[in-house]
Assembly symmetry: C2
Homo-oligomer: 549 residues x 2
Amino acid sequence: MARIDFQTDPSRYRHWKLQFDGPVAHLIMDVDPAGGLFEGYELKLNSYDLGVDIELADAVQRLRFEHPEVGAVVLRSGKENVFCAGANIRMLAGASHGHKVNFCKFTNETRCAIEDATENSGQTWICAISGPAAGGGYELALATDRILLIDDRRSSVALPETPLLAVLPGTGGLTRVTDKRRVRRDLADLFCSTEEGVRGRRAVEWRLVDEAVPPSAWEARLRERALEAAARSDRPRDARGVALTPLARRFEEGGVFYGHVALEFDRGAGRAILTVAAPPGPPPATLEAARDAAFWPLQMARELDDAILHLRLNEPELGLLVLRTQGEAAHVLAHDAFLEAHGGDWFIREVRLHLKRVLKRLDMTSRSLIALAEPGSCFAGTLAELAFAADRSAMLIGARAGDNRPAATLRLSALNFGAYPMANGLTRLQARFWGEKESLARAEARIGEPIGAEEAETLGLVTFALDETDWDDELRIMLEERASFSPDALTAMEANLRFVGPETMETRIFGRLTAWQNWIFQRPNAVGERGALRLYGSGVQPSYDKQRV
Amino acid sequence: MARIDFQTDPSRYRHWKLQFDGPVAHLIMDVDPAGGLFEGYELKLNSYDLGVDIELADAVQRLRFEHPEVGAVVLRSGKENVFCAGANIRMLAGASHGHKVNFCKFTNETRCAIEDATENSGQTWICAISGPAAGGGYELALATDRILLIDDRRSSVALPETPLLAVLPGTGGLTRVTDKRRVRRDLADLFCSTEEGVRGRRAVEWRLVDEAVPPSAWEARLRERALEAAARSDRPRDARGVALTPLARRFEEGGVFYGHVALEFDRGAGRAILTVAAPPGPPPATLEAARDAAFWPLQMARELDDAILHLRLNEPELGLLVLRTQGEAAHVLAHDAFLEAHGGDWFIREVRLHLKRVLKRLDMTSRSLIALAEPGSCFAGTLAELAFAADRSAMLIGARAGDNRPAATLRLSALNFGAYPMANGLTRLQARFWGEKESLARAEARIGEPIGAEEAETLGLVTFALDETDWDDELRIMLEERASFSPDALTAMEANLRFVGPETMETRIFGRLTAWQNWIFQRPNAVGERGALRLYGSGVQPSYDKQRV
């Protein structure tokens, strides 16, 4: 299968148009039916596949970095008769289980990125629904802060997945309806089992949308709402945006290589090795000089994001991801200090938020994550989050014989204590020391200091400290053993153990909702020869096994 | 298949022994290998199937009601060489998907009932592990308040499901390890991928157990811990227990009939109709007179529980459960007032806690729940919870022509506002009005008053108020439509919509963990011809599809 590429830019969009009007941007969905990522389906009625969502994710990202002047984004349809019909059914019906699951995961992450922009970037998303918004179409609207529905008898919102396709509205729909929009549960039940959806005033009464607007007032109201939102924004109107220039990447047989990130493949062992390099030097002298796609934290985050997505979609058989770092910890910490000192700046805020999202993407990646800290490594500050995201971590005690690189140390920065919350709202260290306030305080007291392997183990910051004699043997056995387990059991085990404690709407979407949807995606009533997803559009009625489980 | 019966009593136990020593009870697991519920497997090494767990659930229940003098329960093994090997693998390998799911659900509910006894009934459970406690064996221990492990080199705790069987420790294990015992996530990862488990001091260091006790001190330490726990109990030492006498039931072709509860089957329509009758009269004059298995709230709760379990396990094709009530609302409310007035009494507390658990069982039941309030019904106080547990509810406006029963009204009691929290810690009305404090306050202001159909709809207490002309037609269409949907999609949709807002360890177990386990129970790597669960014990190595999804 052709490689799925997550890099794009507006000049290459086939499905979206961006228009700018001072502090308001309009993102117009106008899917090219012939532009599907794979063969065998047409993207009719603004339905989408992963390719459409890759462009959307790119737009969300560029609006933040390239358009500081934009305080509100209006999401709308470029088609006359439809807002969006949701995920393309024929694509879903023909996709492998793994593709379906990863498609939903990515689309969920994109919708969370839209919410993150609204909540944290001063860029409020507003949805303008004209024409039917069904399934994933309405779920896209649910990710925005305010939903306007044109009250014209043909425009409606619907989550018809259960009656029509025997699956769930799995891109957050069930969760956002009850938890974000606070639709009463019985009304939500009614709504989610009604194929034709809900229009006009009833949609407002049930809280499915915020306003139903008469056609005559539509454009004026939209403009008004967008300008109101933009007026609340703290983004600078006159700043220069930072262009997200194309990533320099090299795809080779043995891996993908970026400026600061390398993703190498060991196919025989079923593993990938991700190495993140420290910045080559100290941070720029001024904030102005930092405003560039080459600013290390930004470039590294973008490369890491691309590498994770490449691994997820294009390398499903590499079940283990070894996390490594290399370079000068001091340079990492100096960059952290820079990010900390300028946290109030719009661009630095975006860099930090992007790092947060990339680290969340790592948390949500269904591969066993093993961090290895060896001489010459730099698990410091932001890069130490890689070790804290790992299912296990090991640190080599001291230097290696005949190797003049310094012994591995771990260093903490202020950013480890709040900048990068996980989906559950906890920092990775809070999650690690859940219920152990003293351990957390002990770690915090050591900010900035180099912590050797044995001490890191004592402090609970790594799983193992091993000396050189044990390192090679024990790690080999550990990695081989891990690779011998059932990938499914590991995926589910990791999805449970990684998220301790509190739950948020986001973890509910990635936990309860997604896990149930993945179950459905295995059930004959949906995906079997006579299942609804398979038969949709064929004219043949699905035939269900009526047993409840 | 033979009917699975959830009623038993100690005289019929094949797998457990109860011993009493003043304020301490000992519950001894001594599984009869030949006592499996089905053919085809032997319950070796104290492994269990649903039959074993039905006896356990019965014991948990009887200890609360029949033994007010017991303040501590010590759970231990009656076998020399093993504590408990967990769920029987051959049983699991041979069971249908539906049986596996329902088996896990019931065992999870039993473990939650153990925690409920510790937290709310003054009956603290302590686990004494001697010999290996593996998988479900250790998960049973995790449900207790304190785990003692004999430090004898052969006793250990383990969750070997992932490496050994390619499934999860799905009876709460993954969740309780991180969230209840606060085992650090990387140590939990290590523990859950180690077949042989952990012993002695390391088990204490990792918080897997509370103490590792030398064999010489074992019995004395156990006794000490049990007496300490019993001393903290507020249960009365000299009260008379209330015997849980056998339920009078009639199994007929058309349903199961109890004293206050009827479960009728409409197989053609794929539905069951559950009718709960109000008490025939006012509550007893005195607390002493109430202490009897015939006390309406207790008998009704036990009957309702049995009916729900019968439906779950023995009638999988009835996907719709219609909830009805009939009788005098005044008698229900008088009983609620009695339960409210005597909430401090140990027996009344048990009755209320049992009602809470039965209503939770209903919430967790994977059937569409539709409450219908017609003339002569009594959705009042405790019985109104049935309507609030429903996915939808409908109420008939006014009386029926030619029917002299009074029009349906809904009445609230104080018990609707705190006595029966759901698994997420919210009352059903709080969940219903999540984010709508005013609606909740408006309902609370109406405690005791009869609320007619139209007003109930306006207050948001029911989904629909329908007049007689619409009632028959609209309901017929609604029920037929519901029955035509995919049972799987409905199960998953309901599991999401029923639980809004906060999450607890319990909802995480029934949500995230269970949903992932149900997914695993569909995956070829576990249940396929060459899957680990199927091949376990055969000597043939499983062969895994290495793709991560």
